[in-house]
Amino acid sequence: MSKHRVSRRQFLNYTLTGVGGFMAAGMLMPMVRFAVDPVLKASEGGDFIATKQRVDEITTEPQRVDFTFTQKDAWYESEVTNTAWVYRDDKGEIVALSPVCKHLGCVVSWGSDSANPDMFFCPCHYGLYTKDGVNVPGTPPLGPLDVFPYQERDGILYLGKAKPHKEA
């Protein structure tokens, strides 16, 4: 047989170390996992949602673009459709504005007020925003409309989470 004979004591030592090691690993692994969990979590809200809008079809006239995502409200999950007003500005860059009025959260729309056809209009308290989303002084809204960050993938417009307007 082999030259190296394993004594009973050695055999027991090996098996105990092995089993003990597994047990220790079994206990420590979840702890380590919990400790680093926040790092492993995918960042929420950073992801972009696909719309049905083709990028090359965006004109200088603001148009409604709907996009749907799943929203979790406590334990109730629902499909939510969000809207953005998308157009190209004078420099040819895409602008995607959130339709939520900065006054009390109604939904604004482009040119729905016959007196101001080239402004965003809030039907609740007659708030007005210019085309770049800046509120018109003298109307109820206190700030400019939020802006959606956008990406272009395969010619399709993707929108991210609304951010406060930068300029103004």
Partner: protein, 153 residues
């Protein structure tokens, strides 16, 4: 605004801007028209929910008024009670949204604006189709609301 505590905080703060209350009418029946009542309630609940999203800064969407379909006398009393109670506060406009034709008969006795819409059976509908149908209906409702608001100015 919805009938939730966080929205009520907003209401307290911005009271002067909120002048409209919406009561969705939700019929309940256990007779032969059980299914019809359920589909009406479903339709009205969906519709008013969407409406609230559009006009959340100016209206309060109250929890629906639930009533037994076969007991119209009593339900009418209940609605009048609501109207009295809402009139006390500063709701200049109270809208009752229903799919039940029964209310059309009582319209004269109500001080609020009754909006009747025919219920659309949504049960066999594809999700996308459902959404677009509700959206169309909401648009019509919005026009009605805006019109009423304009009239009172």
């Amino acid at each position: 605004m919805r009938w939730t505590s966080s929205d009520m905080d907003m209401y307290m703060k911005e009271k002067e801007y909120v002048d409209t209350a919406v009561i969705p009418m939700l019929p309940v029946s256990f007779g032969s028209d059980m299914k019809q009542a359920a589909s009406m309630a479903e339709f009205i609940a969906l519709l008013t929910n969407q409406l609230e999203r559009q006009f959340r800064g100016r209206l309060v969407l109250l929890p629906g008024y639930t009533y037994f379909k076969n007991d119209s006398e009593k339900s009418l009393e209940g609605v009048k009670n609501w109207e009295r109670e809402l009139g006390k506060d500063q709701f200049k406009h109270v809208f009752i949204v229903t799919a039940d034709t029964e209310w059309k008969k009582h319209e004269r006795n109500l001080s609020s604006s009754l909006i009747w819409l025919p219920s659309i059976p949504l049960e066999h509908m594809d999700e996308n189709y459902k959404v677009s149908i509700i959206e169309d209906q909401v648009k019509q409702l919005m026009h009605l609301f805006i019109q009423k608001w304009r009239e009172s100015e």
